[in-house]
């Protein structure tokens, strides 16, 4: 019975890696039904959580690799950079995007730019904001297009060359890039 759990976790894996037509119905309900069908819930749930954590770390690696390819530098995940987007949005044409970086914006400590990429769009670049110390605050709102549910990734370069990164999962119901 234990072996039967493996394909389940693998297919969740594929779903979260954003395959075009994921295997259907890997929902909480399906999970609970499976567990009701003979598996001890206590044994299954910790494994499922472990699986999710594994996915999260895998994605972090993807993001790091992508940013390294774009900038040639290794980013640091940081909560100083906040990317605020709805978790689900009905259309992909005008998804609200709010970006905020905690920074005093002085000559000696400021944000140079914030760049936003949507890795699963046909063209991944979204927008880049450049800021000026003393004059502009690193806080912007705009609206973007998303082709499919995905992690939206933002990274900010500080004046000392440090790259901060953050990402957020956004689910869109319709393709905004067609």
């Amino acid at each position: 019975m234990r072996w039967k759990q493996r394909p389940f976790l693998l297919s969740v894996d594929r779903l979260y890696c954003g395959e075009k037509n994921p295997a259907p119905q890997h929902t909480r309900r399906a999970l609970l039904l499976t567990s009701a069908a003979g598996l001890a819930t206590a044994a299954l749930v910790p494994q499922a959580i472990a699986g999710e954590e594994h996915l999260a770390s895998e994605h972090a690696d993807d993001t790091v690799e992508l940013i390294e390819r774009l900038t040639g530098k290794t980013p640091v995940a940081s909560d100083r950079l906040r990317i605020i987007m709805p978790r689900t949005f009905p259309n992909g044409y005008t998804v609200p995007l709010d970006i905020e970086v905690e920074s005093p914006m002085t000559q000696s400590d400021h944000v140079r730019y914030v760049r936003v990429v949507a890795p699963r769009n046909p063209l991944i670049e979204v927008v880049t904001f450049h800021f000026v110390p003393e004059r502009s605050l690193p806080r912007v709102s705009t609206r973007i297009r998303l082709a499919e549910p995905q992690f939206v990734v933002a990274f900010a370069e500080l004046n000392d060359g440090t790259l901060l990164t953050a990402k957020t999962w956004v689910e869109v119901a319709t393709n905004g890039c067609a």
């Binding site: 005008t94 979204v126 880049t128 904001f129 450049h130 000026v132 004059r135 605050l137 705009t142 297009r145």
Partner: protein, 109 residues
């Protein structure tokens, strides 16, 4: 032909050294270059690729836009000023055309 109209919203007067919000919107279709017309030909890309805000002749906020910015690009950003001066907003369209708007910023003394 769609008329491209830029609009901005700036507070009527601001306190020196305090941050204030600026809203900038341009009515633009932002054609991505990925869509096809009824005959199957690709509709050429036509987007606003750059937006600049200048204060006293110096760039204070610059944005590079790509295809994934929504039609009618809208930005809400925050500036800080110490003296009254002109605020200029410029949108650069593909093909070199630009749209601009000027606004006199009043800073309370």
């Amino acid at each position: 032909m769609v008329v491209v109209t830029p609009r901005v919203q700036v507070p009527s007067s601001v306190t020196p050294g305090k941050t204030f919000q600026v809203k900038a919107l341009i009515a633009h279709k932002m054609e991505t270059g990925l869509r096809r017309d009824n005959e199957g030909n690709i509709i050429p890309r036509d987007i606003v690729n750059k937006f600049i805000c200048r204060y006293n002749g110096v760039n204070v906020f610059t944005t590079d836009l790509h295809e994934a910015v929504s039609a009618n690009p809208y930005f809400e950003f925050y500036l800080r000023a110490t003296e009254s001066g002109p605020l200029e907003f410029v949108w650069y369209e593909d093909g070199g055309k630009l749209y601009s708007l000027a606004h006199q910023l009043v800073v309370d003394s």
